[in-house]
């Protein structure tokens, strides 16, 4: 039967564990030739006609009727049956543990997902690598150390949140889809900074104990929301400012292009985190204390991380334009530190978390030196 040749066809199934037994339905179909068609009367809402907008058919365009309703409580069946489909009985549960909307949702999640898909880029194709020119040794070493740090930390925003994906009720699939784009973004960031370190006569620099400790704490967070506070509000918010600094201090157009594109990606992640925490804090104000505890520890480790030479000096060298202008670079870093703290606190405000009284990040960069003296 059929014209496709299957190699050793006579051996297929010769040692099979189970015996093939056609279903009652298939036997009946074979005998009568009449289809059942009962499934045609077991549909979700019928007659839906989503219309594409000027940017195509986006998620928001199919949020129609019952399909547009995201439940406060995820389906009790705990399966991957699509939201809005006819749910049959006795579906095998996948054991989801995040079943409340507030535990993972963000009102901008569909928008951010579509935006992420539309604004994907390729580190191989979209970075003008051929324009990369040799840099003075101090600048290349500083850039390579910065790239080493970013290569080291970036993928945590893929590894850590995706651990929760499999625990999220599938009625909140938009969150899973967004997190999948975030994982893709972080793969690209890890790839592009590794490529940059190896593309211009340098190489990877020194890994960091404190960075690893910071990553471990993100990994060990007890809930998705706690991790979001630690990872996206502080960690990615901080890295977002670093990317902006990178765009500013880039010694070449190649570096500028890399940092600018990463900055765009990172700001989506921060946007999701901020909005998720806004949703969560509105529904469960008591979560604030859990977030504060995470941020108390995260801020402390962040300050320690940026109190060692391999973290401070590359940025100062790049900012100043070389070792000879190290002081100028430190001065610029001091100016930018205030922006980092300002934007972090603004995001906390936007999320509905009054972080100011508990924040240990000094608003004045010089206080970091005074405290150490």
């Amino acid at each position: 039967m059929g014209s496709v040749h299957i190699k050793d066809e006579e051996r297929v199934g010769s040692e099979a564990k189970y015996k093939l037994e056609p279903s009652v339905y298939l036997q009946k179909l074979y005998e009568s030739g009449t289809p059942d068609l009962g499934w045609m009367n077991q549909m979700g809402e019928w007659g839906v006609r989503a219309k594409p907008g000027n940017l195509g058919l986006r998620l928001k365009d199919i949020e129609i009727g019952s399909y547009g309703v995201v439940p406060e409580h995820g389906g009790a069946h705990r399966s991957m049956a699509p939201r809005g489909a006819k749910i049959v009985e006795d579906l095998p549960s996948l054991g989801f543990t995040i079943n409340e909307k507030a535990e993972c949702w963000a009102d901008n999640v569909s928008e951010l997902y579509e935006e992420a898909v539309a604004r994907q880029w390729s580190s191989a194709r979209d970075i003008p690598w051929t324009e990369l020119k040799p840099l003075p040794d101090d600048l290349e070493r500083a850039m390579c150390q910065l790239c080493t740090f970013l290569t080291e930390v970036e993928f945590i925003a893929a590894d850590a949140p995706t651990r929760w994906m499999g625990q999220m009720n599938h009625d909140f699939f938009e969150v899973k889809m967004f997190l999948a784009t975030q994982a893709m973004d972080e793969a690209r960031h890890m790839d592009v900074f590794r490529k940059r370190a190896l593309a211009n006569g340098g190489g990877l620099g020194k890994a960091s104990y404190l960075s690893e400790l910071s990553l471990k704490r993100i990994f060990d967070c007890p809930t998705f929301s706690a991790q979001t506070g630690r990872l996206q509000l502080l960690g990615e918010g901080f890295v977002l400012t670093m990317f902006r600094q990178g765009e500013f201090l880039a010694p070449s157009r190649v570096d500028q292009e890399i940092f600018r594109r990463c900055m765009q990606d990172e700001s989506r992640h921060v946007g999701f985190g901020t909005m998720h925490l806004r949703t969560q804090l509105k529904a469960n104000p008591a979560v604030a204390e859990q977030l504060h505890e995470q941020l108390d520890d995260a801020e402390r480790i962040l300050l320690e991380t940026f109190s060692v030479p391999e973290a401070v000096e590359p940025m100062a060298i790049l900012m100043g334009g070389g070792i000879d202008h190290f002081d100028k670079g430190m001065e610029l870093q001091g100016q930018l530190w205030r922006r980092i703290v300002h934007e972090y606190l603004q995001r906390c405000d936007s999320a509905g978390l009054d972080r100011r009284p508990r924040c240990i990040l000094p608003t004045d960069f010089n206080k970091m030196f005074e405290a150490a003296a």
Partner: protein
Amino acid sequence: MASFPDSQWFLTLGKLMHAEGELFRRLGYAETRFAVRVVPNNTGNGGDRIVGLVIDGYQLTEAKPIVDLNEYDPDFVICGKREIWDRMLGEIAEHGRPQLRHTLSSLALVGEELWLESTDQLREDKFYRFNQTLQELLNLAAKVPA
């Protein structure tokens, strides 16, 4: 002939944006309502000029003078003195893009020559989310006399 920051000047950029469709499609769509504020070089005398702009997808769909920013409710406002805007546009005219440290993002990061205003950090972050689109839009000024 319209000149920066006339609304018509921005609309001319918008036409070029439409013509350069492939470049912007490759960057991905953007959706933001924002404003450009041009502050006179000698501050304190008022006379700011504000233009409200809307990017919808791959097109600049609106450019109009704004009197009341609260009413316009932009995601963010990019503010700078006239001389800073002129310098950026001059560099774009000469090289097709501003110098490395004179891009929108770089200047806004330092915050002295160019700065952002917004009512909400989440909305201000759209400046970063769509930064390349914003910069490429301004870079089209290389083809339009300022």
